[in-house]
Structure formats: structure tokens, C-alpha cells
Symmetry: C2
Subunit: 415 residues, 2 copies
């Protein structure tokens, strides 16, 4: 398996070398060919997906997981539209990030160039397969796609169709390759192919991400674990606070930018807590309150230490009443996964204090945590949301899939 993964990575390096100098026009034409092929190949993809779904059911997989795995013609059409959207975005490669003429006459430019070979290790939804392939291709990099075993047939079908489409274009087919998921070790070999793979991006649950971070010798961008907080300040508009909490918690529960924790300033606890609990419970949410929260509203489940740290991804929320904004910030610094925190306040001082006090990829002022999303923020495409500080933080688009090189031009300059 190691030799198989390394051989794929070596082919990817060669293909990436060629892709690095491919024009935007050729890359966009290849993306459109891929999108058309995905639509035309819908029956093939659905057949493979049906086998994955049957196997998951036979293995006793829960219906919510099966639902995420299942494709239909509309979902495949949405993949294809996503690929076309990527084609419409500007090419990040070749952008001059900065440049100047130095005092000695040397001309210096920092130029955006492709990353090279990117490994994606991901779970669940097969839509990541087409998304990641399109984004990496547009950014000039080859991608090695290692999805989950449960989606193996769907992913293989999608990748085969995209590669067949590339074969009709000037883009080398090996810029998109499948890494088989039938053996756990393939992921390990991918994340340890130092010198062959430039970057590994894990997408999935906390367990997958931890495993990649610990075992990888290739640089990693951690994505997506979100224990997002909504803090309702003493100066909050409580109607606005209610709408934001309900949206952040219940608009979609299985995503990383959903709220998992609610913090309420004691000054508004008596008026806000009963309203928010009633509204959350009406929507089927279980509230896990700390002692101060339970003192205001006894009819909630007592929270454990684990609740405050949990990324539920379900109709649960932990809740706490805090003495001050500083206690809210300290709580977030202790328990947050560094994804997104929201404050609801009409106080400029409080919003500034919160923004500089928390240490997360995104801070929402009077807006739902659900806006931490590449599409919502206007990036046009998103390969994941980074919760680490290195290289990229927050939603990652095309730019974040590139690196830079310094090009310095002289006339025989020496030191």
C-alpha cells in the first residue's frame, strides 16, 4: 500500500509540474468538461452510490449517516454547478502579492504559485470529492483524494468520470487521483509522504482530525471542529439575541458553524433565559445548563464539564450564566475549539472587548455563527474551515490553496 500511495504521489508531482504552467483558459475548460461529465455520468454515480448505501444499511449504519451518504440527480447537478462556479473564479496563480525595487536596484516580486500536491483525507459526504478536485485544480495543484470506506464506490465513480473528462483536455489526468480507502494504512502513508505531498487537509470528525495532526509528517491544516459560542451581553437587544441563538443552533445542526454553547450575562438572565429555553425546547433542543443557569431556569438538564467542551452536532446546547463579559471571554478561551464566537450587544465597547479578547478564526457581532462559510463571505468556493492559526484561518478558498515564491531580478548583483 505504501508503494501504491507513493507511486500515486509521484505521478501527482509530475502532473502538478505541468498544471503549474497551464493557462487559466485551459484549466477552466477542463473544469467545464468535468462538470458536464458529472451530469452525463449521473446514472453511473447513482448506481455506485446505491451500492454504498446498501452496504451501509447492511452494516447497521444510522439513517442520518445514510442520508448524508445518499446521492440523487439533484445533488449531482449541484456538484457540477459547484465545479462550474470554481471555473468562474479568478485564477490565484501568478498574482503578485507584493513587489518593489530595492535600494540597490534589485527588483523583488512575491508571486502566488501552486502548492504542488495536496492530500485530502475526508469522511462522509461524496460532495467533497468533486469540490476538492475542482478547487485544487483551479489553484494549480494535484490532489490525492482519500475518502471514507463507506463512500468508496461513489468516490471511485466520481473520480473516474472526472479523470475521463480530463483526458479530453490539455490538463493531465493525474492531477486528480483516488487513494483507495479499503485499507486504513493508505491514509497513514499519504500523511507521511513527506517530500512527495506538500499539504494534507483532513475533513471530518474530531477523531479523524486528531489522528491526522498527530501522525502526519506532512504539514497539515486542521479544519472544522466547531464548539461555537453565542454570548448574549448585558446590552443585548433580546429579540435579536433570541433570533440569533435559534438560527445558530437549529438552522442546521450537523455543521461546524452551528452554535453549541450559550453564554448569558447575569444582567439579562432573568428576562432572557426563560424565553430562550422555551423557544429552544419548542424546537426540540435539549439545554444543558450550569448551576447559575439552572438557578434561573430549573427545567433544563444540568451541564457537565464535557458539555461545555462538546461539539454536539445535534439538538443540544450547553448554557451558562456569566457574571461579566470577561467571564464569558475566559469561558470561551477555555472551552472553544477556535472556530466562531458571536456576541449580541448594542455596546461598541463590549463588541471591541469581545473581538480582541477571544482567540478564534471568526467573531460575529450581532450575526449568527452560521455566516462563517466561504460561500457566505463571498469567497466563491471553500475547501474547509481552518481552526488553526498557521497559513489559513477561517474559510479557505482558492487563495489559501496556494503558496508564494520570491522572484528577484538583478543585473549581476552580488553582496
Amino acid at each position: 500500500m505504501k508503494e501504491l500511495v507513493h507511486a500515486a504521489a509521484r505521478r501527482a508531482r509530475i502532473a502538478a509540474g505541468s498544471l503549474a504552467t497551464t493557462t487559466r483558459a485551459d484549466k477552466d475548460a477542463a473544469l467545464h468538461a468535468m462538470a458536464d461529465a458529472l451530469v452525463a455520468g449521473t446514472p453511473t454515480i447513482l448506481e455506485a452510490n446505491g451500492q454504498d448505501v446498501d452496504a451501509a444499511r447492511a452494516a447497521g449504519t444510522g439513517e442520518n449517516v445514510v442520508d448524508r451518504l445518499r446521492l440523487d440527480a439533484d445533488r449531482i447537478a449541484a456538484f457540477a454547478d459547484g465545479v462550474r462556479d470554481v471555473a468562474a473564479l479568478p485564477d490565484p496563480v501568478g498574482e503578485v502579492v507584493r513587489g518593489s525595487t530595492l535600494p540597490n536596484g534589485l527588483r523583488m516580486q512575491q508571486v502566488r504559485v501552486p502548492m504542488g500536491v495536496i492530500g485530502m483525507i475526508y469522511e462522509g459526504r461524496p460532495n467533497v470529492t468533486a469540490d476538492a478536485a475542482a478547487i485544487c485544480l483551479k489553484a494549480g495543484s494535484a490532489v490525492l483524494l482519500r475518502g471514507s470506506a463507506s463512500a468508496a464506490r461513489s468516490n471511485a465513480a466520481i473520480i473516474a468520470i472526472m479523470r475521463d473528462a480530463l483526458a479530453t483536455t490539455p490538463v493531465p489526468v493525474d492531477v486528480i487521483q483516488l487513494v483507495p480507502a479499503d485499507d486504513r494504512s493508505s491514509a497513514t502513508h499519504l500523511m507521511q509522504a513527506r517530500g512527495l505531498v506538500d499539504l494534507v487537509i483532513p475533513r471530518g470528525g474530531a477523531g479523524l482530525i486528531r489522528a491526522v495532526v498527530e501522525d502526519s509528517t506532512v504539514p497539515v491544516i486542521e479544519t472544522g471542529v466547531g464548539n461555537c459560542h453565542v454570548y448574549v451581553d448585558a446590552d443585548a437587544d433580546l429579540d435579536m439575541a433570541l433570533a440569533i441563538v435559534l438560527n445558530a443552533k437549529t438552522h442546521r445542526t450537523s455543521v461546524c458553524n452551528a452554535a453549541e454553547s450559550l453564554l448569558v450575562h447575569k444582567a439579562v438572565a432573568d428576562s432572557f433565559v426563560p424565553r430562550v429555553v422555551a423557544a429552544l425546547q419548542d424546537l426540540g433542543v435539549t439545554v444543558h445548563g450550569d448551576p447559575a443557569f439552572c438557578a434561573v431556569h430549573a427545567d433544563v438538564v444540568p451541564a457537565t464539564e464535557e458539555d461545555h467542551a462538546a461539539e454536539y452536532l445535534s439538538l443540544d446546547i450547553s448554557a451558562r450564566v456569566v457574571e461579566s463579559i470577561d467571564e464569558a471571554i475566559a469561558h470561551i478561551r477555555t472551552y472553544s475549539s477556535g472556530h466562531t464566537e458571536a456576541i449580541v450587544t448594542s455596546s461598541l465597547a463590549a463588541s471591541t472587548r469581545f473581538t480582541t479578547g477571544v482567540d478564534s478564526a471568526a467573531v460575529m457581532i450581532n450575526a449568527s455563527t452560521r455566516f462563517t462559510d466561504g460561500g457566505e463571505l463571498g469567497f466563491g468556493a471553500e475547501i474547509g474551515i481552518s481552526t488553526q492559526k498557521l497559513h489559513a484561518r477561517g474559510p479557505m478558498g482558492l487563495t489559501e490553496m496556494t503558496t508564494t515564491t520570491y522572484v528577484v531580478t538583478g543585473d549581476g548583483h552580488t553582496r
Copy 2:
């Protein structure tokens, strides 16, 4: 030791939280206080350094290494000037990297914020201690300094003086802390303090850097291993080529941006090789030639495979005659450490081909590899030269020691 390192990291996190909101004026005043204290503390530093030098000699350390360890009043004055230079640079924190109002009225800003806690693991010269402390402080981060055992007394003295200086300012002293070097495990605990340390930067030899990359669970920026190439093209001005090769190889041999490999196009081999070999040998350089190079000039040492990959850091250079620019690019892609490659050519087509073909942090066109340097490129300060593609590539200044956060402001926006 683990508890000691983690306790230091926890103090650093608290101090970093305070430093993140310290004004530029207060940070600059603290840097000036540190610089003044380093000059005033010269006798103390020299006494500690003398003990390190004596211990190194007693251990049989080579004189070239001892020379790098040895300080004098001029070198300490140079540290202090370096710290004052950092004070004079603009503050990267708070810079708005991008911002816009989204179609739904949300106002989005990507703002530069401090990294948090940075671990430096370094060998050799004690100047890194003052440099790294100053750069991290200005960029708003706390630093944990883990130098080599051989410089332990010097580093401890420098750090104690800087901390004493901070105690007279609003900057918390724990933004600069020593991690003891008397136990190898302290470096391991530092690079595995995930959640407490945001970034580890190793500076030193290839062995140190490999060990950190392999063992760290904290994100790492690889620095400084430089197997830099000079390629003399068919269309080169050979006088210029000679000057660049000699400068790149011999201006300073112990640095990562020194040239270690020479590639000569066959079209100019007969005229250039005898000249460059004679000039290099006059300066005491040993040339290790491949068979094609030896065929042109027999009076050199035959090169092994290891020679082509070597970062000599000495008066040695590997050399090869290539059939074409593509063979030069392929050689570089095979053997380079990704630091800096130079081409000497008067052909625009060749310079473009070379720039897009190699895959390194910097490309010099008609200039010495020695210009890959934060000071030379006008960054004002440099904490190392990244040879990886993630986050920072090439010389790293203040900006590269920061991360960003998205601040999104709404008026009750929900999805």
C-alpha cells in the same frame, strides 16, 4: 520537565493575552528598554558566555563552532541595535488584510492578530535569543526560547536581562521565557504542547529540523536548510556568472543562502568551466564534479550522489554540466532543499522558464543566492527563512509571525 514546560506555556498564554491588546507605543518602549538593558548588561552576558566558551573548549568543540558561540561587546551592541530596529518597524497587529460589505449588508474584515505563543528551538549563536524575543514581542506573541545546551549560560543571562527590563514596562515579563536546555526532553515537551503553543520554529542544522518536523504535534515552520543552486545558462554573460558563483559560494560559507551546487549549460562549459574552477580553487574551494563536468575539467574531485544533495556550509561545491535548461530544472527539482536557486542568463525566455520550472522559496535572476535574506529584501527583521510552502515561504518577518481573524458585523443577521 513536562510540567515545567507546560507551566511556562500556560504563563505565556496569559501574558500573550495581555500583549495582544498592548499598544504599539508600549511595545516599542519595552523593546528600547530591552536594548538598553542588553548594552548595560554586557559584563554579565560576557561572563556567562565565557563559561559557555570554556565548557565548549573543555568538551573538545571545534574552534569554528566556539567562534560562533563567542560574544564580545560589539556583538552584544549589534543585538541591541537589532532590537531597536524591530521597534522602528510598523506594527503588523490590527492591519486589515481585506474587508468588504457583503450583499446582505454584513460588514466583513480580515484583521491581522498575534499568533499567541511561539516556541523557538534553536542551536548555536546566542544572537537568535534577542532577535526572536524582539520579533515575537513586536508581533504581539509570547515566546518560549529553547536554545542549545552549549549556549545555556549565555542565553539564560540574555533572557534574564530582557525580562528585568520588561518588569519596568507595561509588557508582562512572561512574554519572554527560557525553556531549560539541560535536558533533551524539554524540546520534545515544547513541540508537543498542543493547545498551549501555537507554532514551533526550529532553527539549526538539518538534524534538528527533521527531528522537530517528525516529533512535533504543534504546527511547525521548517527553516533554513539550503542546498542552493546557481545555473549558468547557454545565454549567460560569463563574467557576470563568474562573479555570482564566487559571491554565492564564498561570501559566507556557513549560511543557508550560500550556493552549494553549480550547474553549467554544455554550450558554455568549455569556456566557463576552466575559469570558474580556477577562480574557486584560488579561493580554497573544493569542486566536486559529475562525469560531464570532469570531462571538461579533470582536475576536480568526482562527485557522489550525496554531493549533489549536500548542504556543505563549507568551501565545497558540487558541479554538473547539463544538456539543457530543462535538465538543470529537473536536477534542481530532484536535489534542492527548496531554498534559493539562481539563473544567470540574458534570455528572457530562459529566465521565465527557470522561474516557473523550479519549485523553491526564492529564484534569483542574475543575482547572487545571498540576497534571500529578510534584511536584504527590506523586511527589516527576520526570524528565519522558511523552506516549506505552508504559511510563510522565504524570509519571515513580523507579518509572518501573525495570523488573522474574520470580524463580521451585522444587525441581527441570520441565515
